[in-house]
């Protein structure tokens, strides 16, 4: 059987750097949505416990080593970096999402300022601490926004929107850079 060549959504896109802040494409090899069936919350937590995880509360990301479980909406989380553990399919609807999403990462001193332009949420540390996740529109695109560090964020959009999402954030970085140069 021929080996297909896997390409990411922004294949060949070089990282963009402005004001010491880098926008780059992230790689997610494994991504599975987990949607517990009604009344199975405890059973789902018991199975996830084997990985050192539990089902996240709204707006929360749970991690165990490189494996993460991030909240992405009512009754749904994405498992990143691992296959679904055995037995989980009995208690939750599982769907492979790896082909459907693009991941962008931004890290650096103006990451917050750049993201606060297109995302209508307060991203200051007090309101949006490290580890917080939000479903929030990136202009008119449905997106998942996750703070992975003091100055680092991960943005997920539908794969078909990857270039538009990149453009919106890159433009916000350009504006901040131009303003810094002018002042």
């Amino acid at each position: 059987m021929p080996e297909l060549i896997a390409k990411s959504a922004l294949h060949g896109q070089a990282p963009k750097v402005a004001l010491g802040t880098t926008l780059s494409e992230g790689v997610v090899e494994k991504m599975v949505s987990v949607a517990p069936y009604p009344g199975r919350g405890a059973a789902v937590d018991a199975v996830l416990g084997a990985l050192g995880l539990r089902f996240p509360a709204a707006g929360e990301a749970v991690a165990a080593g490189d494996v993460r479980l991030i909240w992405v909406g009512r009754g749904m989380a994405f498992l990143l970096g691992a296959d679904a553990p055995a037995g989980l399919a009995e208690h939750a609807a599982l769907t492979d999402q790896a082909d459907g999403w693009a991941v962008l990462r931004i890290a650096g001193p103006v990451a917050v300022d750049a993201l606060m332009r297109p995302f209508p949420v307060d991203l200051r540390a007090a309101a949006f601490p490290v580890g917080k996740v939000a479903r929030v529109p990136l202009n008119h695109m449905q997106a998942v926004l996750c703070r992975t560090g003091e100055d680092a964020f991960e943005i997920m959009v539908f794969r078909s929107m990857a270039r538009t999402a990149w453009h919106e954030i890159a433009e916000a970085m350009d504006v901040l850079e131009a303003r810094a140069r002018a002042s």
């Binding site: 517990p36 069936y37 009604p38 009344g39 919350g41 709204a58 707006g59 909406g73 009512r74 009754g75 749904m76 209508p120 939000a134 479903r135 929030v136 529109p137 008119h140 449905q142």
Partner: protein, 90 residues
């Protein structure tokens, strides 16, 4: 106008999709009389004041919400998740 989503917090109303009156939550039984189906599908109050209707957080967490609002002042008085109200999955 902002809606306080129980999962996402206070968000602009443009993140939400308006569906219609709260009446849609009370679907008659299949064999219910024609009058009940007529009321369910077509007959709505149009109050100048407090009304309750269904909204969907489509640019957010995908929750269906019952929003109590005032059509005169545009004030949002209460927001409740349909799932919580029916005791469904969290």
């Amino acid at each position: 106008m902002r809606i306080n989503c129980p999962l996402c917090g206070t968000r602009d109303r443009r993140e939400f999709y308006y569906y219609g009156a709260e009446d849609y939550l009370d679907r008659p039984a299949p064999e219910a009389p024609a009058q009940a189906w007529d009321d369910y599908l077509h007959n709505r109050d149009n109050p100048a004041g407090v009304t309750r209707d269904l909204w969907y957080h489509d640019l957010g967490c995908s929750s269906w919400l019952v929003v109590t609002r005032n059509t005169v002042t545009h004030e949002i008085l209460a927001v409740e998740a349909v799932a919580d109200r029916k005791g469904g999955a969290a």
